[in-house]
């Protein structure tokens, strides 16, 4: 499919920030982070397929404080993108698009993503 150059506006500097705009941008940012982060999963799986030595090396890297920080961020990015996707499913049904309602739905995504991410880490990492 051929594509024509699209007009690019200085949207970040010019427009007043709204929650729907911020969540739209964050959906794309987390999408790109998830895209890059799949490398982490592939490295882990390939190391596991290769043998104990490679797996131990990856485990110690991912288990380090920096590795855990990245994995925490990646968890939130994945969860936030999922919540953003669910929000789009609601909007696809032409529901919650009215002024006020759409902002509520947009606010629900970061709130839900932070709560779900914290629950995952509290229940499965910190409490274990």
């Amino acid at each position: 499919m051929s594509v024509r150059a699209r007009p690019i506006s200085p949207h970040l500097q010019i427009y007043r920030w709204t929650i729907t705009m911020a969540m739209s941008i964050l959906h794309r940012v987390t999408g790109i982070a998830n895209y890059a982060g799949m490398t982490l999963l592939v490295i882990w799986l390939v190391a596991a397929a290769l043998g104990q030595e490679a797996l131990s090396a990856v485990n110690s890297l991912y288990g380090s404080w920096f590795g855990q920080l990245v994995l925490f961020g990646y968890t939130w990015s994945l969860v936030h993108h999922m919540c953003g996707g669910l929000r789009h499913f609601v909007w696809d049904r032409a529901a919650m698009l009215e002024p006020g309602r759409r902002q509520q739905l947009a606010w629900a995504t970061p709130i839900a993503s932070v709560i779900i991410t914290l629950l995952i880490w509290i229940l499965f990492v910190w409490a274990v």
Binding site: M1, S2, V3, R4, A5, R6, I8, R28, G31, I32, N34, Y35, M38, T39, L41, V42, L45, V46, A48, A49, G51, Q52, L55, N59, Y62, G63, L78, V79, M82, G85, H88, F89, D92, I120, F124
Partner: protein, 130 residues
């Protein structure tokens, strides 16, 4: 200079490159369907990671090597790769055009294919050969 008025005919004409209605609808639906399936991927990924993160290889093979877990996981990685390529296409369409778009889109396809082949290959190796 005045902008030319964009009519329905201009948009419908493939030569004006406003986009392909059929391909765009397919893109939209593909992204929604793979996105919904990715909820299952995240659930299974969470289950697997919680069970085997930091464990020795024997414990990992016991979980991922189980066909009922490993094979669905392999299929879901393929679905993720499709969603990744589709989503990155949206971004590239917004900021790239012409030969730069084609180049970045090829890199996009290559990366997503590499994720799928390496990820699925590793999982299948663990399932069938331990």
């Amino acid at each position: 200079m005045r902008e030319t008025v964009i009519t329905k005919d201009t948009i419908a004409n493939p030569r004006s490159h406003y986009g392909d209605a059929r391909a765009s609808t397919r893109h939209f639906l593909t992204q929604r369907i793979t996105g919904a399936i990715n909820i299952l991927f995240l659930g299974l990924l969470l289950f697997i990671v919680v069970r085997v993160a930091g464990q020795d290889r024997t414990d990992l093979v016991a979980v991922i090597g189980n066909g009922w877990i490993g094979l669905p996981f392999a299929v879901l990685i393929a679905v993720v790769a499709v969603h990744m390529r589709n989503g990155m296409r949206d971004t590239l369409e917004d900021y790239m055009a012409g030969s730069m778009y084609r180049l970045t889109m090829s890199l996009n396809t290559f990366y997503c294919l590499a994720v799928a082949v390496l990820g699925i290959g590793a999982v299948l190796k663990i399932v069938f050969w331990g």
